[in-house]
């Protein structure tokens, strides 16, 4: 049982090639504690770098090469991601739900024509996509979506409102759950639609939120409300066929519920807090002379480690093609809950200074500590609340039922 990758000489050579290429091409961008502060110019540089990665198949390295992915093994993808870590950059290097979630769903459920049309532009970084799932009246109960898509000739006419969408600086496409059969049975009344964001009738309006972390990986910083007013979307863009959207969504929800790779790296906050604690003083004495605070820090560390290991287990097993059941939701639940307990531990250890925001001179760790105090609250709901994760775990374990619930299709 190996907890680390053993690199073959070929893999090591790839890694070195990747390192040199990244050194030459990666933009050097500031590490914003609050990603909402990402400027348009910085975003454009991220996108340009994304297109360079995409041209090499490195933007979504494990996706099939025939559609513009890298066709690389999980090991090589990991090498690539570790090299990008050195520049404090995830993969993709900006908020994009296209390649990891949307493209995964298209790959499973799209027709050959749809795959050939959509996947290359997603996987090469030519377009950035947002996911449009939540609505004002449809949160935890995602299947209760009310946004409608009514067939009219070669198009669907879309009307409704989606919230908690995307990031700053726009997107070229979005994918969404819509009601395609208002008379249909629950779960059999939905469609899954790839929507160009530039069609008439689509309006994007920024929400005013406590903080936005995003779906891990590149933090999005900003969330929007998107209004659809008779927006016309080509019927070709409906993925998975008529009224099959719930099953299509099952694929990306499966991935989002704890199967994303970014959390395997561990939380950079952990070392920031421990190193602050080792040097801080209170009342003329080292902070660490207070055993209560040391206990808090140990709890904090334990939470971080357990979260990291559950994600590592999921990542390793999934990369071997093992079917996971409850493990994704378990890791996600652990991550959400540990964020809250860590935020409290940080407030105990650092004191009110944890609440000082960058660029104020009293902000700790360039504002990352204050940002985390907000992010911990915000992290509780994306991808399903902690309670929803518990529902998934119970169903997948088969608590109180003979048959365990089947996971969403990943291939």
């Amino acid at each position: 049982m190996d907890f680390e990758l053993e690199w073959t000489p070929e893999q090591q050579a790839f890694r070195e090639e990747a390192r040199a290429w990244i050194e030459r091409n990666a933009p050097r961008l500031p590490d914003h504690a609050d990603p909402a502060n990402l400027t348009r110019e910085e975003y454009e540089r991220q996108r340009a770098f994304g297109r360079l990665l995409g041209a090499k198949g490195w933007l979504y390295p494990t996706m099939p090469a025939e559609y513009g992915g890298g066709g690389l093994s999980m090991e090589l993808a990991m090498a690539l991601e570790e090299e990008l870590d050195r520049f404090n950059m995830p993969l993709p290097p900006y908020y994009d739900t296209g390649g990891k979630l949307g493209a995964a769903a298209i790959l499973v459920w799209g027709t050959e024509e749809q795959k050939a049309h959509f996947l290359p532009m997603i996987l090469r970084g030519e377009i950035r996509t947002w996911q449009l799932l939540t609505e004002p009246e449809s949160g935890s109960d995602l299947a209760s979506a009310r946004t409608t898509a009514v067939r009219d000739g070669d198009h669907y006419v879309v009307n409704g409102t989606k919230i908690f969408v995307g990031s700053g600086h726009g997107a070229e496409y979005s994918w969404m759950i819509v009601v395609t059969d208002p008379e249909g049975e629950r779960h059999a009344n939905l469609g899954w639609l790839m929507t160009p964001m530039d069609v008439p009738g689509v309006t994007v309006e920024k929400m005013d939120l406590l903080f936005v972390g995003g779906e891990r990986g590149a933090a999005s910083g900003i969330k929007n409300t998107v209004y659809f007013d008779n927006a016309r979307v080509p019927a070709f863009n409906l993925i998975g066929g008529e009224n099959n959207g719930w099953k299509v969504a099952g694929t990306h929800l499966e991935i989002e519920h704890g199967l994303l790779r970014s959390s395997v790296r561990g939380d950079p906050l952990t070392e920031r807090v421990l190193s602050h604690a080792r040097n801080a003083r209170r009342g003329g004495k080292p902070l660490l002379s207070d055993p209560h605070l040391v206990d808090r820090l140990v709890d904090f560390y334990a939470d971080s480690e357990v979260t990291r290991l559950l994600h590592l287990r999921n990542y390793a097993w999934r990369s071997q093609g093992r079917q996971l059941t409850y493990e994704g939701a378990q890791a996600y639940l652990q991550q959400k809950r540990s964020q809250l307990s860590k935020a409290r531990a940080v407030l105990d250890v650092i004191g009110p200074q944890a609440l000082a925001e960058a660029p104020d001179e009293w902000a700790v760790a360039d504002g990352h500590i204050e940002a985390h105090q907000r992010a911990a609250i915000v992290d509780q709901h994306p991808g399903g609340t902690a309670e929803i994760q518990r529902v998934i775990i119970a169903r997948r374990l088969g608590v109180g039922r003979e048959a365990r619930e089947e996971p969403g299709r990943l291939r």
Binding site: F3, R278, R313
Partner: protein, 373 residues
């Protein structure tokens, strides 16, 4: 990075599962607990699996396995939970002899441990309970041809089953040595302490005379060797607790499906589901920290922080999983014949073994550099 058992470990696992089915089924374990059967009856079968030599090199009659292999063995034993001196003897004493013993002591004692012929218990703690060197008050006084040991050892796992003890005793103001003492030595008496624990006992030492050659490694101060051995042993003990927690989880999951109240399986109630989820979360937190700790020991990586974390989480997790299981099982859970109480009792018994969560967390803090200078 596979995070799976290898082929050989799966075979080892299957062999241990056979042993449990054949020699330690639930009926036998509850009978041992009730005092109507003797754990010693299954000892030869247990020894024949090689479990007692998991961590003993082949040249001394052991299997010479990795820590991960030992983890597989003790996780399966924990599923019973199979009581007895297998851990005290095959892991803790075997490691202590390897870390601190002299060549002759190793050559004489390790083969006997691996074969199961000798059953060692390690006696460290005392009425003023603790796992630091300062907590040892039993005295070893020089005599003409060796030492005389006096004092009381308390809460010693497997004290009544042991054929030999490794006894921690103060050889000087700042030194603690370990002495190999046969259980039938003059002046030594031992007994099981009755209560909500499995196999914890008292050892009284009244001027027990031992020769020079009884002192482990001939070292008046053997505490550092004990710390090294105890750290490694703690990872295997965590695996045993993981096994116990796994059984508690499976038992509770099954009960959530079969027990009906209010015209439906109780597992349909989210309040009940939450208990089962808490159990599987404790289980997996303990499992993966333990596996990583075993891997670090096997690969020579700095392992202290990992082992301390695993040990704390496995002790707490087993304890809390049992509590949650009792919530789900209600009255059925306290019927001894059902089997849950074997685990509840074992979770309490092992809670403090080799230090307990508080001790391990303090050591973890030190390993992370979280100690005031």
């Amino acid at each position: 990075m596979d995070l799976l058992l290898n082929e050989q470990q799966r075979m080892l696992q299957a062999a241990m599962q056979d042993l449990l089915r054949r020699d330690f089924p639930k009926e036998t374990l509850t009978a041992i607990d009730a005092g109507t059967a003797d754990a010693a009856d299954g000892w030869p079968a247990l020894a024949s699996t090689g479990a007692l030599g998991s961590l003993v090199p082949e040249r001394w009659g052991g299997v010479g396995g990795s820590f991960a292999d030992a983890g597989v063995v003790f996780e399966e034993l924990g599923k019973g939970p199979v009581p007895g001196p297998h851990f005290s003897s095959g892991v803790l004493a075997a490691l202590l002899l390897q870390e601190g013993g002299g060549p002759e002591q190793q050559a004489e004692r390790l083969p006997a441990i691996a074969s199961g012929e000798a059953k060692f218990a390690v006696a460290v703690t005392e009425p003023e309970y603790g796992w630091d060197a300062d907590d040892v008050q039993v005295r070893a006084e020089r005599t003409a041809d060796g030492y005389a040991l006096s004092g009381v050892k308390l809460h010693i796992p497997d004290a009544d089953a042991a054929t030999h003890f490794l006894i921690a005793a103060r050889t000087g103001a700042a030194a603690v040595g370990f002495f190999i003492v046969p259980a039938d030595a003059d002046g030594l008496s031992r007994r099981r302490v009755a209560g909500f624990s499995t196999g914890l006992g008292e050892v009284r030492l009244n001027a027990v005379a031992v020769g020079e050659d009884a002192l482990l490694g001939g070292a008046a101060d053997g505490w550092a060797a004990f710390e090294r051995a105890a750290l490694k042993a703690a990872a295997a003990l965590s695996a045993y607790q993981v096994g116990g927690t796994e059984s508690v989880f499976q038992m509770t999951l099954e009960y959530s499906r079969t027990r009906r109240q209010f015209q439906q399986p109780i597992g349909r109630f989210q309040r009940v589901q939450d208990h089962v989820i808490d159990i599987v979360n404790h289980l997996d937190a303990a499992r993966w920290t333990t596996y990583e700790a075993l891997w670090k020991l096997d690969t020579g990586r700095p392992a202290e922080a990992s082992v301390r974390l695993a040990a704390a989480l496995a002790s707490e997790g087993y304890y809390l999983a049992c509590n949650a299981a009792h919530d789900v099982h209600a009255g059925v859970g306290i019927v001894r014949e059902y089997g849950l109480t074997l685990h509840t009792k074992m979770s309490r018994t092992l809670y403090h073994y080799l230090g307990g969560p508080r001790h391990h967390r303090r050591r973890l803090a030190a390993a992370l550099g979280l100690q005031a200078e």
